[in-house]
Every structure is written in C-alpha cells, then in structure tokens.
C-alpha cells in the first residue's frame, strides 16, 4: 500500500459548550507504520484519535471545521459503523470497553454488528487471535484475564474488522509493567506488518526508538508527524534518557540506552553517586513499624511475615506486579483494613491514604471546594498554622493554581488525579500512603508530584508509595520494597534497587552500571566528572 491512509486539513474542533477549541487548525497525514502521538494531558491527543473513526464529531457533537478523509471516506459524515471497517480505536480503560463476558465473543462483537456471515466471522476471530499471539485466551472469561491480556483482546477485537488504521488511546496507562510491555510489543509488531498504528502514550522511552514518526500535540495544535529524533528534542516533558541527553547536550539525540552509551566517556567515575546518600530521616524512634504482618482475605493471605520500620521523613516505595498485595498492604498500614496477624505501630499523628483512581471521589463544583472540604473536616487551621498553606496554596503546590475554580470532572485525567491527591494531602497527614499516584499522569504531572512528595516528606512526614512507576520511585524513594510471591524483599535504596542487573532497572541505571539511576543523579555525576577533568 502506498500513500497516506488518512488526511486532515485545517481541522478545528470545539466540544459542545467549550470555550476554546480542542483541536486547532490541524493539518496532517497518517502513513503506514507506527506514529507515536505524544504531548501533555489535555493537549488534544484523545480528541485527535477520535476523529479517525468518526466519534468526533459524530458521537460527541460540537462544532468542527476543515476536513478529515480516512480511507477515502469523509470522516465527518460517513456513518461510524462503516468507518469502523477502516479505522479502529482501542481505549484506555479495559473495564469500560468490553461488551461480552468471553474472549471470542468480545472479538466477534464488531463482526456481528457488521452483519458478517458466521463462517467468515470465525475465520476473522481466529486471524485476530493469531495476529496478537493470544490463541490460548480464546475461550477464557474476560474477568479472569490480567489487564495486559484484556487490552490485547480489545486490540484483537478492533483488528478483526481488518482496519487499515488502528488508534490506541493510552492503552497502557492502567496496566502494570508486564502488561504494558506486552501491549506495546503487540503495537510494534502490527506496525512492522504495514498497518498504520497511531499510538498515544505517556511511556515514551520504550516506543520512541521503534516509532516511525512522532506527532506532538500541545494545546490542540499538531506538530508533525515527522522524524522521531528531530521532534523528540521538542518534547515539553521528555522521558528520562532524553532529558539527560538534552540537558547534557548529547548530539545526535540518543533514543536508546545503547546509543546514549556512545556519549558517555568510558572512564567516567561513577562510584557512589551523591544523590541522597545521607538518609533524610531523623530520630531514633521509627515513624511507623510493621511487625510480622499478614494481610489479605482470611482464606487467602496475599502477603505474609512483613516486618519493616521506617524513620521520620522516610519515603518508602513498594513495587511488584498487579495482585502482589500492594494495595492490601497500603490499606492495612493506613488502618482501613485489620491485619490477619501481626501489628502496625505508628508514632502518633494521622494517616492519609490516597487510593487508586482517587479522582472518582471528586464531586464538588470546584477544585478549591474539594480542598477546603478536607481542610474544614480535619480541622487544619491552615492560614494560621502554615502561612501559605491555604486551599489555593495547596493547589499551587501541585501546579493546579489556575484550575482552582474549575469543575474537577471537566479536567483532564492527569489534572483530576493531581487535584484528588491535593485534596487528600491538604489534611496534612503525618503519614501519607499513595496507591499508584502517577496512573494516567503525563511526565510533567509526574515530575511536579515527585517534587511535592519530596517537599512533603521533608516536613517531616513519612510516605509510602505503591507504584509501577520506577522512575518516580527512583526520584523520591529512600528505600524500595519488592512484593513477590507473598513475601516482601527490602531492595534497599533506589541506587541499588534500580541499578543495572536488577529486574527493575531504570533506563538511566542501565546506562551507568554501578552508577546513578535518575536524571538528577546522572547529571551530578557528569558534573563531578567534568570538574575532575578540569583539575
């Protein structure tokens, strides 16, 4: 196949009742291969992807101008069922996109809607399962699958209609590492087989090197699609390796650890990175201590014999696959769940637990009102107690000052998530527990959350984070605990936990074996090296 599969010209789009357009004068062409769509939350990625299969504007309404041609069809007017045979869309959340209870029926749903004859339907289902290498899942019930498996089933369901263009809207944002890897690998293999794959994604480090083109969406405007290396330099929030390369001035911009290794001098002295070698904790008394803790449902404990003590101001990161007991442990530490056996002791103060998807609790007319509710409830007399710590001050800490007067549910998912965390931590707990706090957040939001956690812990308050986001853990944690097979393993400080040779190595850790694991650590190591060279 040759030529673009889709072409947008001067496309501008307003959601109903929106004050400003979600897409601004977008002109672009989509060709076969993998096009990576990057940019911050609220930049227009999701809206753009919905143009190709007609959901924008046909499902969402609103005003649109310009033109969108997909497989030769006018995407504004061609009925969605007809467009679905040419352009498919995989959504973020597996729960809210499955129709049936079993895998093969789920995959056949689109084919049934197309009125396809049964023998062909069976062939198409086989083909889609085969394309993704998930034949074994054919007769499974969706409820028994992992997130990564379910997301691949949804991709198969889209592929069964044999569209030339497949768009995926942050398909890995709700998955653990293993699941995300499998879904991204599936996207890559589709793209190499000549399909147009349009992937909107926050985890860029893995897909950037494999992408054929990069498309940047910021504030509704599109830049690209164009050469990855060229546009990657213009990412507002580059992933760690790129950020390091940009800040260290490495040219040409490396996209992989192997490429970056060429820019690192061989005799670089990496022994003992300076990053947080002194524990920030103070005092002899532990801030919290778990003794021989067993947690989970009575019949089936998920974690046994957990003993751990953390100092005041210490940030502990808990990593491990889905189902390893992270959430159960956090809820037990927060006092929301009684332990099956063992004890949790806390050195005074109040605990604050932020569950997964905290944004679902938001219901007041403004973000400011949400923060004020917590402050009022918990009797924190903010202004008097902490000067700047008013509702707006709390929101400013999370980079949300401009959004204080907005209705929380109208915000992008990353903004909502930060708003909900701000609303919970506004109670100024002495012991904060965060469950997957960066889920669905873009890099910029992750960074401001990381900075906030470090300031918060310096009060000093103890923090426990359960996360798949090892870059966040590497940035903020003092100690890392791995949950695996019902046991907890203390992996030590992030410099050890995420170093080369570990299962959980960060990109930076791979680049500097035995050295730093974060951008900050790497930059200071490089600075020291340069200083040493001058001497």
């Amino acid at each position: 196949m040759s030529g673009p599969i889709a072409r947008l010209e001067h496309l501008t789009y307003w959601y109903p009742n929106a004050a400003s357009p979600a897409l601004r004068d977008v002109t672009l062409e989509i060709e076969p291969g993998l096009t990576l769509v990057a940019g911050g939350s609220g930049g227009g990625k999701s809206t753009l992807l919905r143009v190709f299969d007609g959901l924008v504007p046909q499902f969402h309404g609103g005003r649109i101008s310009g033109s969108a041609i997909v497989a030769g069809l006018d995407a504004f007017r061609t009925p969605i069922p007809r467009l679905a045979r040419h352009a498919g869309l995989v959504f973020q959340d597996v729960e809210t996109q499955s129709v049936y209870g079993t895998v093969e029926r789920e995959i056949a749903f689109g084919l049934e809607n197309a009125g396809m004859a049964r023998p062909e339907m069976h062939d198409r289902v086989d083909e889609a399962l085969h394309l993704l290498g998930i034949e074994k899942l054919r007769v499974r019930r969706l409820a028994t699958l992992s997130g990564g498996e379910r997301q691949r089933v949804q991709l198969a369901a889209v592929l069964a209609l044999r569209p030339q263009l497949v768009a995926l809207d942050e398909p890995t944002s709700q998955l653990d590492r293993e699941g995300a890897d499998a879904v991204l690998a599936a996207c890559l293999s589709l793209a190499t087989r000549g399909r147009s794959v349009l992937l909107a994604e926050h985890r860029l480090e893995q897909v950037l090197p494999a992408a054929d083109r990069l498309l940047l969406m910021e504030n509704g405007s599109a830049l690209g699609p164009g050469p990855v290396r060229e546009l990657a330099a213009r990412l507002a929030s580059p992933p760690p390796l790129l950020e390091l390369a940009i800040r260290a001035g490495w040219m040409p911009l490396p996209l992989t650890v192997e490429e970056a290794a060429n820019s690192v001098s061989r005799d670089l002295n990496l022994s003992h990175p300076a990053a947080r070698s002194v524990p920030r904790g103070t005092g002899d008394e532990p801030a919290w201590e778990a003794r021989d803790l067993t947690v989970g449902p009575a019949a089936d404990p998920v974690l046994e014999g957990f003993s751990f003590a953390a100092a005041q101001g210490e940030v502990v990161a808990i990593v491990g696959a889905n189902g390893s007991g992270k959430t159960t442990l956090l809820r037990t530490l927060a006092g929301l769940l009684p332990p099956l056996s063992g004890t949790v002791q806390r050195h005074g103060g109040r605990a604050g637990y932020v569950p997964q998807n905290p944004a679902s609790m938001l219901h007041l007319p403004t973000l400011r009102a949400e923060v004020e509710l917590t402050v009022r409830r918990l009797g924190v007399t903010t202004a008097a107690e902490a000067g700047t710590d008013t509702a707006d001050g709390v929101l400013a800490d999370f980079g949300l000052a401009d959004l204080a007067g907005r209705y929380p549910r109208d915000l992008s998912s990353g903004e909502r998530q930060r708003g909900a965390i701000a609303a919970t931590l506004a109670g100024r707990p002495d012991f904060a527990l965060l469950d997957e706090p960066t889920r669905g957040m873009d890099l910029a939001a992750r960074r401001s959350l990381g900075a906030y956690i470090r300031r918060f812990s310096a009060r000093p308050s103890s923090v426990v984070i359960a996360t798949h986001d090892i870059d966040l853990a590497a940035e903020v944690a003092d100690r890392v605990v791995l949950l695996k097979d019902g046991r907890a393993v203390d992996l030590g400080p992030p410099e050890v936990a995420f170093a080369a040779g570990s299962e959980w190595v960060t990109q930076i850790g791979r680049l500097f074996p035995g050295g730093p694991v974060t951008v900050g650590g790497a930059l200071s190591a490089l600075d020291r090296d340069i200083a040493r060279g001058r001497r």
Binding site: T96, L111, H363
Partner: protein
C-alpha cells in the same frame, strides 16, 4: 484467580432449552404449597446445577440468597401468623402485630414458603452460573436483541461500581468523612453515581466505535439443537403443565398445615413430574460447535 474457561463450559443444553427448563421448574415449585414437591424440585434443580457448574464458579452467593430468603420466610410467618393448635410459646400481646402465640403449624408453613423460594432460586441459578450473559442475549428474540446487549453490557459495569464505591469510601474517610446518618452518604454516593455515568458514556462510545446500533446484526454462535434439548424442553413443559392441570382437575396439589399439622398428601404422578426435572443432569456434553482452527 480462577481459570474458568468456556472449554470447561460444555453446557449440556442449548441456551433456549436452559431457559425453558428453568421457567418450568419455577412454575412447578410455585404452583404448589406442598413441601414434598417443593423439596423434590429443589433436589432435582440442585442435581442439574452441580452437574453443569463450571469449575471456579462459586455457589457462595446462591447459598447466601437461599439462606436469607428461607430464614426470612420462616421468621415472618412465625411472628405474623398466630393460628394453629400446637402452641410453642407466646410473644407478649403488648407488642403490636407480632404479639400472640407461636405455633408448630406456623413454623411448618414458614418452612414451606422458604422451600418454595429455595426451589425457585436454585432453578434460575443456571441462567447466571452456567450461561454467560451473551448466551441469554443469543436466546432472546430478534427485536429484543439490542436491548439485551445493552443490558448485558451494563452488567459488566457492576463490578466496577463496587470497586468505585470501596475506593470512594476509603478516600472520603481519609478526608475526615464519617458515616453519620443517611445524608452523610451523599459524599460517597454522589461521586459513585457520577463515575458510573461517566463509565456508561465511555462504554457507549466504545460500543459505537465498534459499529453497534445500525443495520442488521448476525450472531457468532450457532444454535444447533440436539434431541436432548427437545427432550428436556418437552419433559419440563409437561411437568409444569401437570401441576397446573391437576390443580384445575381438583386433585389435592396443595398442603395446608392449619389448624393441626398433618402429613402432606403425595400424588405419584406429581412426584414423577418433579423427578423428570432432573433430566438435564443426564444429558451428554454438547459438542463445541466450531470450525477447525486453520
């Protein structure tokens, strides 16, 4: 995590045959007051359910529903009905409605009502424990198909609803919320409902993007009936009909324990009808209707 697969899910009967059997058993159980018949229908239905229950499917919720409704039936009857000759003890008359004698007969009648509810619950259990929601959709007549899919899909959101509820309750507790009276639950229920509405819109969008809602549909599954399906339907319908016909013919179908407890009369034809409802337990597994994988 359970590894239930529909490969283990050889269901024995065609979907519509399951529905016919289920309805017939409910009709049989509820068209008589006789505890013998109700007990037999329960046993027959339980035999069928246990024969075809897929691996990994739990009976816990069914058990809880049965225990709750049976207990409730007995209790209500005992405290409300005060007739009967054999008095066990008295509830003080000072208590309005409930005050009065508690009799052996009222306990017996409560047990009969409980048995009827148990039989009905066990008889409909296969529709949710053995069949998948799409099986029910497939069994619906054409004009109801789309509505059926929409309903079945909505059911997928129920588990998410439960999780949202738990998560919102936790989150609000951590912000100082405490359950105090009905109104305090607004802070949990309002966000849960808002989230459910958002989820439904997302689901509608996903269904629309896969072409749902226009033009003629086809179905992935084929409905091949075997002799067993016909046999089960025929016997179930005959069994249910017998109860109704015999009642109109004046045969003693019911049992009434008041004023003094007596053994229920038993009609051998109706006993046979109850036992015939166990027929699906003897059906051989239906072969998987699939083209060979190429």
């Amino acid at each position: 995590m359970s590894e239930t697969t529909s490969a283990d899910r050889a269901t024995g009967l065609a979907r519509r045959a399951w529905i016919v059997w289920s309805l017939a058993a409910v009709v049989a159980a509820l068209s008589t007051d006789n505890p013998v018949y109700r007990g037999l229908v329960t046993l027959a239905a339980l035999d069928v359910l246990l024969t075809w229950l897929p691996r990994g499917r739990s009976l816990r919720r069914l058990g809880a529903a049965v225990a709750f409704s049976a207990l409730f039936a007995v209790l209500v009857n005992v405290v409300v009905s005060h007739t009967g000759a054999d008095v066990l003890f008295r509830i003080p008359d000072a208590i309005p409605v409930f005050g009065g004698p508690v009799t052996v007969e009222s306990v017996a009648f409560g047990v009969t009502v409980g048995l009827g509810l148990t039989a009905a619950l066990v008889a409909v259990a296969p529709l949710s424990l053995i069949l998948e929601s799409h099986d029910i959709v497939d069994a619906l007549p054409r004009p109801l198909e789309r509505t059926g899919i929409a309903l079945a899909t909505a059911m997928n959101l129920v588990s998410g609803f439960g999780r949202t509820f738990a998560s919102v309750r936790d989150a609000q507790r951590m912000r100082g919320w405490r359950p105090r009276g009905i109104r305090s639950w607004n802070e949990v229920m309002v966000p849960v409902v808002l989230t459910a509405i958002e989820d439904s819109v997302l689901l509608a969008e996903a269904m629309e993007s896969r072409g749902f809602g226009a033009g003629p549909r086809t179905s992935f599954a084929s409905h091949r009936w075997r002799l067993w399906d016909v046999a089960v339907c025929a016997t179930s319908v005959v069994a249910a009909t017998l109860f109704i016909v015999l009642r109109f013919a004046g045969a003693p179908v019911d049992w009434y324990p008041y004023p003094t407890l007596a053994l229920p009369e038993v009609n051998p034809i109706l006993v046979a009808a109850c036992l015939a409802l166990a027929l699906p337990a003897f059906a051989p597994p239906a072969p998987q209707v699939r083209e060979p994988v190429r």
